[in-house]
């Protein structure tokens, strides 16, 4: 168990403790995963966090990475797709799932308060059994489970997110004055912020304190020319005083870790995780310059997804954050731009 989880998430990090856990976890994966050992055959311990091995995020779309070992019990496989199409597959296990639930619970409790409340998910319950982008949404929603007293999926068809079951939401509002609402960013906009909410429900919501939580990125909203301020204003206009909007960044290859966006525009890294930015052409670590984000945490035991080089771009910020949170933080700068490699014929 990671002792780092015993501390509040956004505080100064104990680098030595994190490094020790990550070194031990890396050794665990090298011993239990032959493919991983083939990728890092000569690794023999890291003296700094940025010297730890990693896997490129795309590796999880190309093979079943799985670590075996004493008492390891694999459960299910998380599958999610990226915009590009093919699915990442992450082998979950009992031990990691417990750690990941503790992690996301602690992060969310710090940001939203520890009270349990109904969780309203703007998605179709059938997405739970599906793969692809839909299951990525549900995976993100499930990270809020530690704060949920009950869960309500209120969209009847994921393909048409404007089909919200308002009567179900009205029933929840009738008995609760505090709600947690999760949706992918564009779904919250489409299904809630710009939706025609029935008048009676609108009155109930105006008396409720709602914490909206969203993730998934702004790409679709950029196309609609919707900015963050307009997005937040539209959501908050539908609910009562004390409500909030929380945007977090996360990926299924780092399940259990949420990187919330603070009021100063930075993504904060919990003290049991680390972010490194690397030069795409040299892989050298960068500080203050943009590059590819590498994300690490000591929660992943069933497969070597504890240290992942993503295809997201970021910039590590130094100094104290104006928002007051301590610990590491970064700016999220979008995805690595893609273009097809030219060829003379067919592949």
């Amino acid at each position: 168990m990671s002792h780092l989880l015993d501390q509040p998430p956004f505080a100064a990090r104990d680098d030595a403790a994190l490094l020790a856990e990550l070194n031990a976890l890396t050794r665990w994966h090298l011993d239990g995963c032959a493919d991983y050992r083939a990728v890092w055959p000569r690794w023999n311990g890291a003296a700094t966090i940025d010297a730890l091995p990693w896997l490129h995020v795309g590796a999880f779309k190309h093979g079943a990475w799985r670590t075996s070992g004493e008492s390891m019990k694999h459960q299910r496989t998380l599958a999610s797709s990226s915009t590009g199409g093919s699915a990442s597959r992450i082998a979950l296990d009992e031990k990691s799932s417990a750690l990941q639930a503790r992690s996301s619970g602690a992060i969310l409790a710090e940001l939203l308060g520890p009270e349990q409340r109904p969780l309203v998910i703007l998605d179709d319950v059938r997405s739970l059994q599906q793969r692809g982008e839909v299951s990525a949404r549900v995976t993100a929603a499930m990270s809020l489970r530690p704060l949920a007293s009950e869960m309500h999926f209120v969209v009847s068809a994921a393909a048409t997110p404007d089909a919200v079951d308002w009567s179900r939401l009205a029933a929840v509002c009738a008995t609760h004055r505090r709600l947690l609402v999760y949706g992918f960013t564009w779904m919250l906009w489409t299904a809630w912020a710009t939706a025609a909410i029935p008048a009676a429900l609108r009155d109930s919501l105006a008396a409720a304190r709602v914490d909206f939580v969203h993730s998934g990125g702004w790409k679709k909203l950029e196309a609609l020319r919707v900015g963050r301020d307009e997005f937040d204003r539209a959501l908050l206009a539908t609910v009562g005083p004390g409500s909030s909007v929380l945007d977090f960044y996360g990926l299924v290859e780092q399940v259990g870790i949420l990187y919330p966006l603070c009021s100063a525009g930075f993504r904060h890294v919990p003290r049991w995780a680390a972010a490194i930015v690397r030069d795409p052409w040299t892989l050298e670590p960068l500080v203050g310059e943009p590059g590819m984000l590498q994300l690490l945490n000591p929660l992943a035991h069933g497969a070597p997804y504890h240290s992942v080089l993503t295809e997201d771009l970021g910039r590590i910020a130094s100094g104290a954050c104006p928002c007051g949170r301590a610990g590491q933080r970064f700016e999220f700068l979008g995805r690595v731009p893609k273009a097809e490699v030219r060829g003379c014929a067919n592949v």
């Binding site: 493919d35 896997l55 490699v341 030219r342 060829g343």
Partner: protein, 393 residues
């Protein structure tokens, strides 16, 4: 004899070719465009693509299809055995990851003077359209400019678009670049019964080298050829086969190529390519390859054996040994197209005998692997743009 009826001397006698335009004038107009092209590279093209295209417009290059198909220009009274005339409208389906094929094919097909219907891939950078636009803007008024402006129709649409059927219905010749399925779909459209269908479907290529024939200059050429498309083209070397080499030899060859890369290829690859190369390095290692990243993550060079599954990746070159040429031939993929060679005696009888037992379509120096010509995928497609009248004289 009419200036528009040209005489060529072939193997079995002379033939006449009815072009319907003045060949010398047409060549001069392409040359005029070529001179314009050296002044700058349009944004749609890379510098290498533009340089190759400009070189392709040289007189010798443009006349090469005539020589390969009909023989050398001739005068006199040798027995005439054939008259060739263009079949008519040509429809061309280009693949999604096309680069220069569109412009090159368009230039070659222009010598038929037949209407051209060109469909670019719906996701492709449309270099054919960019090239025609460039040419029409810069050519002086004349036959070639009018031909490109009025008889060449370019479109970009998907495989389900009804215009595909229209193209097939109108064309005397259908030329399809793409997957096997794409070619089958095109030829399944209703088409004139006497039309000709030409398919350039899934193919791959290799480079074969002998240690004794290698030097740094030739290795640098190999790197340059590989770097143009990586493994993404049908003429790209997906595998470098070291004839007579073992695994240790392959690792040494890989290491020398790694040393030569920075001085040979100085431009950075795009960020996503660098990233994907990092991924491919790890996947190759997991699959058993001894892989290394080239300078600035520009490519992956993976040493291994033929028994390993292909490492994959658009910029990953597998380097494997074959104890003898016969072993290399036995391991050729069924879809083999080109073998680029760096060998001591590539024209030696034993090589040609070996080739005779394979499905290899092109056996060329490594430097010429990407050179496009009238003979492609095992037949002279350019000659098929003409129909033949047998002459008894």
């Amino acid at each position: 004899m009419s200036d528009l009826l040209l005489r060529f001397r072939g193997v079995g006698g002379d033939c006449l070719v009815a072009l319907g335009y003045d060949l010398e004038q047409r060549l001069a107009q392409w040359e005029q465009l070529r001179r314009q092209m050296v002044r700058g590279v349009p944004p749609e093209f890379t510098r290498d693509e533009w340089a190759y295209l400009a070189g392709f417009l040289g007189r010798d290059s443009l006349l090469a299809p005539f020589a390969r198909s009909f023989g050398e220009r001739a005068e006199g009274a040798t027995r005439l055995c054939a008259l060739y005339r263009p079949r008519g409208a040509i429809a061309i389906w280009l693949p999604n990851n096309v680069s220069l094929l569109g412009p090159l094919l368009l230039v070659m097909a222009s010598f038929t003077n037949a209407p051209l219907l060109v469909k670019s891939g719906s996701r492709a950078d449309d270099l054919a359209e960019a090239f025609v636009r460039y040419a029409v803007e810069r050519l002086e008024d004349g036959e070639l400019r009018r031909y490109l402006a009025e008889r060449v129709v370019l479109g970009r649409f998907g495989r389900d678009d009804p215009r595909n059927a229209d193209m097939a219905a109108q064309a005397a010749v259908r030329i399809v670049f793409g997957t096997d399925a794409a070619a089958q779909a095109v030829h399944a459209h209703a088409h004139p019964v006497d039309s000709v269908g030409i398919s350039f479907a899934d193919h791959s290529s290799e480079a074969w080298v002998e240690a004794d024939a290698l030097d740094d200059q030739r290795l640098a050429t190999l790197l340059r050829v590989f770097a143009i498309y990586g493994t993404a083209g049908c003429t790209s070397p997906r595998r470098l086969v070291l004839i007579g080499g073992n695994e240790a030899d392959c690792r040494r060859l890989r290491d020398r190529l790694l040393e030569l890369w920075p001085a040979t290829l100085k431009r950075d690859v795009p960020m996503h390519v660098a990233s994907q190369n990092v991924l491919r390095l790890q996947l190759a290692a997991a699959a058993g390859w001894d892989a290394r990243l080239c300078a600035r993550n520009a490519a992956v060079l993976a040493a291994g054996t033929m028994a390993l599954s292909a490492p994959g990746g658009p910029m990953t070159l597998a380097i494997v040994g074959a104890e003898a040429a016969a072993a290399a031939a036995a391991a050729l993929p069924a879809s083999i197209q080109t073998i680029g060679h760096i060998l001591r005696e590539p024209a030696a009888a034993h090589w040609l005998a070996l080739l005779a037992g394979t499905r290899v379509k092109r056996w060329v120096p490594v430097a010429e692997m990407h050179h496009f010509g009238p003979v492609w995928d095992g037949h002279n497609f350019w000659a098929q743009l003409f129909e033949q009248t047998a002459l008894g004289t």
